[in-house]
Amino acid sequence: MSAHYILRRLGVALLTIAASSVLAFVLLRNMPGDIFQNQARDLARAQNIPFEEAFRQIVLQYNYDPTEPMLKQAARYYGGLLHGNLGVSMYNANRTVNDYVAYALPWTLLIVCTALTLSFFLGIGLGGFMAWRRSGWVSGSLTLFCTVTSSIPVFVFAFLLMVFFVFQLGWFPMSGAYDIMVDPGLNLPFLLSAGYHAVLPIFTFVLVSMGAWALQMKASGIAVMGEDFIFAAHARGIPEAVIRTRYVMRNALLPIVTSAAIVFSGMIGNGAFVESTYIYPGMGKILAEASGRRDFAVMQGILLIISATTILANFVVELFYSKLDPRIRSGE
């Protein structure tokens, strides 16, 4: 893989990030609705003061001037971005968007990375099994299960799991990342509490994405099993288990690895639904909150991180794909 190729791909990735950032910036500022007017109206009503006076007082509460031209806002935002500063929250002048990201990103990574890993291994295992034993009721049932789970939107699953495991059975906590009665830090009660609280969000992601992995693996495995080298391996008397794991699964995995980036970005993007349902303190929850308050600074910061994560994940997969499959020569 040449340096020129890597640089070119990196350039494209960075350009895509820049484009998505501009898009987010413009779209957010053109959203319908005005949080100031709404709150000013409430304040005017509560304090029996003229709307204009209430509006003035509400704008004071925010670190944002609604009359500032968009170009000036953009210059300030991108100037800060070049220095690694994602901006200051409109709602809270004491907190930068970097603070929010530093707080929320680890929690999101915890559930997304764990869910991605678990769903990947469970999915390919299941898919491999379904490909190998593709006739019979077990495989049929599994295919049906995978089709159903991968078709249902993640927020529906989140709610259903909440109803069943929390409301009905009471097995899991209904919200949060850990119990407030434990001391946060590297101690067993805290780790257990954090793990316990992460189970349902992770399980939700696993359930939704595992089926897709399995179906992909099944399709890919079946295709590989029809290849000549598999017949040759059988003819050479290589044991079934070896053919299954080293010949079929390894080759069937190649196209699936590329979709890891897509699944990862899907999980990050769906985080808003899952995290909001479980009141889990990740990026999606922060994004949903900021959206409700029209905190453009936080929204565009989180969106930038999410889009950058997605684009970079794709970039990394693209680079490593040629390593995984020597038949493919990048850039050629």
Partner: protein
């Protein structure tokens, strides 16, 4: 604070070692494969396992300590009495500042940690002393003496702290004052602009504020700067005051220079944080720790009434409405705010014998304001508005919107109609028009203004079809309820022959559209008391607040910006409600106030400026298995856990105090752990 960087590396190493060991153990079970293949598989597995394990460990090691690093790390004791309430922190740890007025502030600890001089109770209008020991009126001065109390950092509370609040905060009471002075360490002097308001009114405008939220020893620089800036504002002239112009300490603060300085100082102040971000306050409970969905508050040992507080910790949990019900069913909380639909309430009671519902009258009603400048219907005509009031059958609307609510035959009364008998003279109540369901009368009224019915649909006097647009705020909580009510209203209007569409609009754009006049009927709280139920306050909001301009579209005087109400009393005498309500705080004679209150309420109902559908009945759920000393506690089983709506006396007061939104932390003075 936990620093994630210090524990990151050892955590990753330790976890990695554990997982490597696990992988090694797992690798020994490869059974009957040839040795070379088994060896390769074991190595591959080990590599894979170690790689994945390391990845997971780094993620875990990064996520857990860093995620928790925003919390103060100290241990809550296990045996203390913890009161679990819903409401959550209201702010996530990344936003918490410790300054009650800064940015996202301190979230829901406001109710439990912040105190004022007084605490008023919505619904009963009672005012209790908190940090005020006594109050005395002397001419145009009011003197408030503070009790002995200290801030949470041990510094004594003084009159300077109260003064500081009024320098930095644009409290509503300031428009009636010319100064707030510190007479001595414990005495604050309010100087009222002449003529001074009557004495009960003075207390009513002082009581709602939480004055002890700005400790001068913490925020002194910003307070002093605010006082300097305010001193530069010129006093309002008698002409300006007569024209209804208002300003803090009766000063004119509209100059650009003043606004800029004030804004700069305020924004600068909002960034100020107390040491270690620990809020410095005076309330019964203080900040202990916070996470995404919970806030833990610890009893303030220095609280002036610490001996009356029976709990050691307050745990506030964030929950969605569905989660709240589950928590209520499973005794996961001691309290849930609000009423529930009857079937859900019964399910809760069946499941949990400790869950008790305490309903209470809400001084607020669901209804529609009528846009008098509608282009789609003659809503500027009193007869048309009256007709709308008599074509609606309110019982099904009440059942859909608030099962426990109360229907009245009035159109709109400015005060909640449940209080009409209390605050309006009996002879005037007898004189007030009633609007029971009566489609025949509605037809008469419409015909009297030239409307006619063609092919089953009413046309206006000009022969144009009437098509009413019902605007509903989609952000209303609980979501969907009022949209259902509006749909039923539209159905009833259609059944009568009035075309009607329901428009549910996102909360962020709803009031923009209302102001733009896009709706003819606007769903909102009508006949509502946001603070005291004494009629001056709801009448003031009704006739002089923002709804006359935003929703009712009453004509406006282009010079003064005041509403021009074209109304008269039952004797045909023209009145100016705006002017009367500006003067009312200065009417010293209670009979004179009553005289005008009678007329203003009668006028609202007579002109049918709105449609009152039903008065809301809210309530509180408490878990008697977790707390005791609840109102009528010994009769809970007799009432099958659904208590009656209290009418008067101690039960009414205690029931109102169960509602934190109505009476703040008052409930803590008598609620006990079981």
């Amino acid at each position: 604070m936990v620093d994630g960087r210090h524990i990151l590396a050892p955590a990753a190493s330790a976890c990695g070692a554990v997982l490597q060991a696990a992988v090694r153990c797992r690798g020994t079970g490869s059974g009957s494969l040839p040795r070379t293949i088994r060896g390769r598989m074991q190595r591959a597995r080990r590599r894979l396992g170690v790689g994945v394990g390391r990845c997971l460990c780094w993620v875990l090691a990064l996520a857990l300590p860093l995620g928790g690093s925003c919390q103060p790390a100290s241990r809550a004791q296990g045996k203390e009495k913890v009161l679990i309430l819903l409401g959550g922190g209201g702010v996530n740890p990344a936003q918490f500042t410790g300054n009650p007025w800064g940015g996202s502030g301190i979230g829901n600890m406001w109710n439990w940690s912040c105190e004022g001089l007084f605490q008023f109770c919505r619904m009963t209008d009672t005012i209790s002393n908190r940090l005020a020991l006594s109050i005395r009126h002397d001419g145009n001065r009011t003197l408030v003496t503070l009790r002995e109390a200290v801030w949470s950092d041990g510094v004594p509370v003084t009159a300077r702290d109260v003064w500081a609040f009024y320098q930095l905060h644009d409290a509503g009471v300031l428009t009636y004052l010319t100064a707030v002075n510190v007479l001595d360490e414990k005495t604050v002097e309010y100087v009222w602009r002449e003529p001074a308001p009557y004495e009960e009114f003075r207390l009513c405008v002082i009581a709602p504020d939480k004055q002890l939220t700005l400790p001068y020893h913490i925020y002194g620089p910003w307070v002093d700067r605010a006082a300097e800036i305010r001193a530069t504002a010129p006093p309002l002239t008698p002409e300006e005051l007569a024209a209804g112009k208002k300003g803090p300490f009766s000063r004119s603060t509209s100059s650009t220079e003043y606004q800029k300085q004030w804004t700069d100082n305020w924004r600068d102040f909002k960034k100020a944080e107390p040491p270690n971000r620990m809020p410095v306050l005076t309330g019964p409970f203080l900040f202990y720790r916070l996470n995404e969905n919970q806030m833990l508050l610890r009893k303030n040992p220095r609280y002036w009434a610490a001996d009356r507080i029976r709990f050691d910790y307050l745990k506030l949990i964030a929950a969605t409405p569905e989660q709240s019900i589950a928590l209520l069913k499973n005794s996961g909380t001691a309290q849930v705010d609000g009423s529930l639909p009857l079937d859900i309430a019964q399910a809760v009671i069946r499941r949990n014998r400790d869950a008790v519902f305490f309903p209470m009258t809400d001084p607020a009603c669901h209804g529609f304001y009528l846009n008098q400048q509608s282009k789609n219907a003659p809503l500027g005509r009193k007869e048309f508005r009256k007709a709308l009031n008599v074509v609606l059958r309110k019982a099904p609307l009440r059942e859909a919107g608030n099962y426990y609510g109360q229907e009245f035959d009035f159109a709109t009364t400015a005060v909640a109609p449940g209080y009409v008998a209390k605050y309006v003279s009996p002879e005037v109540v007898a004189r007030m028009e009633r609007y029971p369901y009566n489609p025949a009368r509605a037809e008469e009224l419409l015909t009297s203004i030239g409307c006619r019915k063609v092919d089953g649909w009413w046309l206006d006097g000009a022969g144009l079809p009437i098509r009413l647009s019902l605007g509903v705020n989609g952000g209303w909580i609980p979501a969907g309820v009022v949209a259902n009510v509006a749909t039923l209203v539209a159905d009833q209007l259609k059944a009568f022959g009035l075309q009607a569409d329901v428009n549910v609009v996102d909360g962020s754009v709803f009031w923009d559209r209302v102001r733009a006049g896009q709706f003819d009927l606007i769903f909102d709280w009508v006949d509502v008391s946001w603070s005291f139920t004494y009629p001056y306050f709801p009448l003031r909001d009704y006739y002089t607040g923002s709804v006359w301009r935003d929703a009712m579209k009453v004509p406006e005087d282009p010079e003064t910006g005041h509403p021009v109400w074209d109304v008269e009393d039952w004797d045909g005498k023209k009145l100016d409600p705006y002017k009367l309500l500006q003067e009312m705080p200065y009417m010293q004679d209670a009979r004179e106030r009553q005289y005008w209150i009678d007329r203003l309420i009668w006028i609202a109902n007579e002109n049918a400026f709105a449609i009152n559908l039903y008065q809301n009945v809210t309530g509180e759920w408490y878990n008697r298995g977790m707390v005791k000393n609840l109102p009528l506690e010994d009769r809970i089983d007799e009432f099958h856990q659904m208590m009656p709506i209290p009418e008067s006396g101690e039960v009414l007061q205690k029931t109102a105090e169960l509602n934190i939104g109505f009476a703040g932390a008052s409930v803590l003075f008598w609620l006990e752990p079981r």
